[in-house]
């Protein structure tokens, strides 16, 4: 290991790096924790949503009279009940939002654009009446030709989802509309000259299927809005402040008039950074004057939410015979779903990011088609381009006869390496993860018949951004920490740990909660691997303010100069001429005298955290391919990820395990299957098969810790980059096992069998 990698034995921290029980643990193992669907209020109605049976159709008219007349029905709404939104892209390009699109995704207006697109909604006295009312709504559709596949959607004669959509990012602007929402290009150096100077060039094309985030909890919420124009929502989401902002905007309300309570969230993986049922429940509640609850079915979740994009990609890499990469070119075409906004920009940026390549061109197309609008999924975009790039890297290594890990290590980026999109890399970590796998004994372990080994690396930005935290010293000296970050997998524990470490008190002296939108400052979503970094900084800042206040109080109690008091080991200590003679004051002792020294002790910190450091991961996968069935069994999986610093290593390992297993599902099983009419054929967990326990071996997580100097404890983020290399690692292992390169995901048994039966070796 490099010197800058933390040696776990040398850690001097007392709480950070330990594995305590999470504060929200007991309610989650006893069934008492309340998720999105678990809230109820007196007088509550049930909402339900009518969804399009067509992949693409014009809505001629909607007649809701019969539904309204059904006894027990309290309201029926359509898109006409929501205010129109301005057509504009708001926010940074990578994550831009267009409310004209969003309101149409919540409730179709002129056209339905995918099977499952919401068309109308009802509120009724119970689920059965609500469901009966939906069947009484008469929608007159004019079915239109549809398009599902991204390459088909890009053809000039493809049916258009938006008749006036002109591709952005092309100069001069095209004179006719298309399904291509946007083209982006990043260029570094002179790719043409780079390829001309290459000794070997490999060019390959790939396709990937859209996959769903697959969270086990369907979207659900309860809304209580009143005639005065104020309202409350209890919702499961990755960001209750975002729910608040979107609902307010879509209903034409002030943000301050909406209060969102954070329900526990039953998985999100990016898919719950956007809203679906919340504004519908809110509007139904406002219309009826009753609380309204809406919970999606699993079929709704598959047909109407998520997934991430499917893609069609071509990657070309040129190398010198010694293994140096001299040029790379990637063209990434992404399905955005029914509305613009696939993660293709991330894909174009991340694909070649792990490597130091002097000449790069990376082109992306954001393409609409008649599928549900794509939503973020774990390192959105990066795993897709990584699959193409890392598969090609494998082929390049084979062509020049080089070990695939040593090939990656030779070209690995480091601090100072120029990226294709502008800035230079500011952090190491890539090479360290490659070395962690290279040095792992498994890399040299023998393989049996029909077995193969694959490796791959990946990059993800990791985010910072806006977060808020409060830290309050209670009357007895215990500490209450509140943040605005939804806890999706143990963040209450890591917040409490960072607070305890900073204050110098024991972990069980600190309790951490997630506060509602009125009780804490704005906090961006739990996503982008940002919470432990950005919200962690807010917690530490709030703790430091509290420490400053505690020192002031101690100075008052001792009647000494404030400058002579320091905070050390959980106590105020006097450093003046009486140092060592005055008994230090504990948090408890200072808290006991709070009233006579100025009142309650607490602080809030709101930050816009910069200095996030990217995540790198390198993975090894061993598979065995059954030549009779084409089924691929995962024998071994090692994920080495640079996390900067693991605050609670168990939950960090859990992120690595979970990301990899999602990647295995993406590689081998998961896909959206459509019939010729554009209907989704596998909208359930039986036919959309996510990995189950018996599919898998133990995943081995290797935590590489190259600390981030911009975080008090070195955190980089843990949640996402683990999924980036996974599909390529599996694909490279399958290629190694059968000697044939599959270029489409998923590598389901029929495709593997077809490859085995084909003559060509790849």
């Amino acid at each position: 290991m490099d010197a800058k990698t933390i040696n776990p034995q040398e850690k001097t921290l007392k709480v950070v790096g330990t594995r305590p029980v999470r504060p929200d643990g007991v309610p989650k193992v006893t069934g008492l924790a309340r998720y999105g669907a678990d809230f109820a209020l007196p007088g509550m109605l049930w909402g339900d949503i009518l969804r399009s049976p067509h992949a693409h159709a014009r809505i001629r008219s909607i007649d809701t009279a019969k539904a309204r007349a059904l006894p027990g029905v309290k309201a029926v709404i359509t898109a006409a009940d929501f205010p129109e939104q301005k057509y504009e892209f708001i926010g940074p390009e990578r994550v831009a939002v267009n409310f004209w699109h969003m309101t149409r995704n919540i409730m179709a207006r002129e056209k339905v654009l995918y099977e499952g697109h919401a068309v109308a909604a009802v509120a009724a006295i119970n689920k059965a009446v609500a469901s009966a009312a939906l069947r009484l709504i008469e929608v007159d559709y004019e079915p239109l030709p549809h398009v599902i596949d991204v390459d088909a959607a890009m053809r000039p004669d493809a049916p258009l989802l938006f008749e006036d959509m002109i591709t952005r990012g092309v100069e001069p602007a095209p004179d006719r509309p298309s399904n291509v929402s946007k083209r982006i290009e990043f260029k570094l150096g002179d790719p043409e000259a780079g390829f001309a100077a290459a000794d070997e060039i490999v060019e390959m094309s790939f396709k990937t299927a859209p996959v769903h985030q697959g969270y086990i909890e369907p979207h659900g919420c309860l809304a209580r809005f009143d005639a005065e124009g104020q309202g409350e929502i209890w919702a499961s989401s990755q960001g209750h402040f975002v729910v608040r902002a979107y609902v307010a905007r879509l209903l034409g309300m002030n943000i301050g008039d909406v209060l969102v309570h954070p329900a526990e969230i039953g998985g999100g993986f990016g898919g719950k950074t956007v809203i679906y049922v919340e504004p519908v429940a809110a509007l139904l509640s406002r219309k009826t004057g009753h609380p309204v609850k809406i919970v999606m079915s699993r079929e709704d979740v598959f047909k109407s939410t998520g997934p991430t994009s499917g893609s069609s990609m071509t990657v070309k890499i040129g190398v010198k015979r010694d293994g140096r990469i001299v040029a790379a070119d990637g063209v990434f075409k992404f399905q955005a779903g029914a509305f613009p906004g696939s993660p293709v920009m991330n894909a174009t940026m991340c694909g070649f990011a792990p490597y130091d390549i002097p000449n790069v061109r990376s082109v992306g197309y954001d393409v609409v088609s008649n599928r549900p609008k794509s939503a973020a999924y774990r390192a959105p975009g990066s795993p897709i381009s990584a699959y193409a790039v890392e598969s090609t890297m494998d082929a390049v290594a084979a062509k020049i006869g080089m070990d695939p890990l040593k090939f990656r290590l030779m070209n690995a980026c480091k601090s100072g390496t120029q990226t294709a999109w502008g800035p230079k890399h500011a952090h190491d970590g890539c090479a360290e993860t490659i070395k962690a796998v290279l040095d792992h004994p498994a890399y040299a372990a023998p393989l049996g018949k029909n077995q193969g080994r694959g490796v791959a690396s990946g990059f993800w930005f990791n985010n910072g951004g806006e977060s808020s935290a409060t830290v309050h010293v209670t009357e007895d000296g215990s500490v209450a920490v509140a943040t605005g970050s939804m806890d999706i997998g143990g963040s209450r524990a890591s917040m409490a740990m960072m607070a305890a470490e900073t204050l110098g008190v024991a972990y069980d002296q600190v309790r951490a909660i997630v506060a509602d939108t009125a009780s804490i400052g704005y906090t961006h979503v739990t996503g982008g691997s940002r919470v432990t970094f950005a919200t962690g900084i807010a917690v530490v800042e709030a703790c430091n303010k509290v420490i400053a206040e505690l020192c002031t109080r101690a100075a008052m109690i001792w009647n000494v100069d404030r400058g002579e008091v320091v905070w050390e080991g959980g106590c105020a200590r006097h450093t003046g001429q009486n140092a060592g003679k005055i008994e230090p004051l504990t948090l408890k002792a200072i808290a006991a005298k709070r009233a006579v020294t100025g009142g309650p002790i607490g602080a809030e910190a709101s930050v816009n955290a910069g200095g996030a450091a990217p995540g790198f991961a390198t993975e090894l996968c061993d598979v065995e391919v059954d030549p009779e069935t084409g089924s691929v069994k995962i024998l071994r999986f090692i994920v080495a990820q640079d996390v900067g610093r693991a605050i609670h290593p168990s939950y960090v390992e859990g992120q690595l395990h979970g990301g990899v297993v999602q990647g295995i599902g993406w590689a081998l099983n998961e896909e959206y299957i459509y019939d010729a009419a554009g209907h989704l054929l596998n909208a359930g967990f039986l036919d959309y098969r996510i990995p189950v326990a018996s599919d898998l071996p133990m995943i081995e997580a290797v935590l590489v810790e190259v600390p981030n100097p911009n975080h008090p404890f070195g955190v980089k983020g843990a949640g996402e980059v683990n999924i980036v290399p996974s599909m390529a690692a599996v694909a490279n292992a399958v290629n190694n096992a059968i000697g044939r390169r599959l270029t489409e995901l998923p590598m389901s048994p029929p495709k593997v069998l077809a490859a085995l039966d084909s003559g060509s070796k790849g």
Binding site: R22, V29, G31, L32, A37, D38, I216, E217, Y651, G684
Partner: protein, 158 residues
């Protein structure tokens, strides 16, 4: 149509409720009896989040009608701990960080208890196959399997 009157034993207590013919046991637990610890992940018996036991048998409560519980003993997650004392499986799940979001956890715990009742000393492979009907999207199953094996060890007293 009039609702059905059902009497059953729920977590050791006598319980009676009214339910419609089409209401599942899961609907009854969540909507009529306000026991929301049992989760609905799919409603089609594919994910195991709604696992409960009926007369000791592990079932998906979304595939059982409320009326079918007549005279039966139902055990849900809310009955797993004894007062302040967590079941060893619950404790081991916390110690091993075997949950992230926690929404599959009630079903996984109920299913794991049913496994250990019939096989107190399962192998890793047996745990994996028994829990194959309980989907977890967060953990990759590693820590769930470790927690179940550790709880089994403790419960055997070894």
């Amino acid at each position: 149509m009039a609702k059905h009157h059902v009497t059953a034993t729920l977590n050791g207590n006598a319980v009676e409720y009214l339910c419609e013919t089409q209401q599942t046991l899961l609907d009854v637990l969540r909507d009529e009896l306000q026991l929301t610890g049992t989760k609905e992940g799919c409603g089609t018996g594919d994910c195991g989040a709604c696992s409960v036991t009926v007369d000791g048998r592990l079932v998906c409560s979304c595939l059982v009608l409320g009326v079918e519980a007549q005279g039966k003993k139902i055990e849900t997650i809310e009955g797993m701990a004894a007062g302040e004392s967590l079941h060893p499986l619950q404790r081991k799940f916390l110690e091993h960080a075997a949950l992230q979001c926690g929404v599959c956890t009630p079903g996984v715990l109920i299913a794991s208890r049913a496994l250990l009742a019939r096989n107190p000393d399962p192998t890793e492979e047996e745990v994996r196959f028994w829990l194959a009907g309980n989907l977890c999207r967060c953990t990759g199953y590693n820590k769930i399997i470790e927690a179940v094996l550790d709880a089994a060890r403790e419960m055997r007293g070894s």
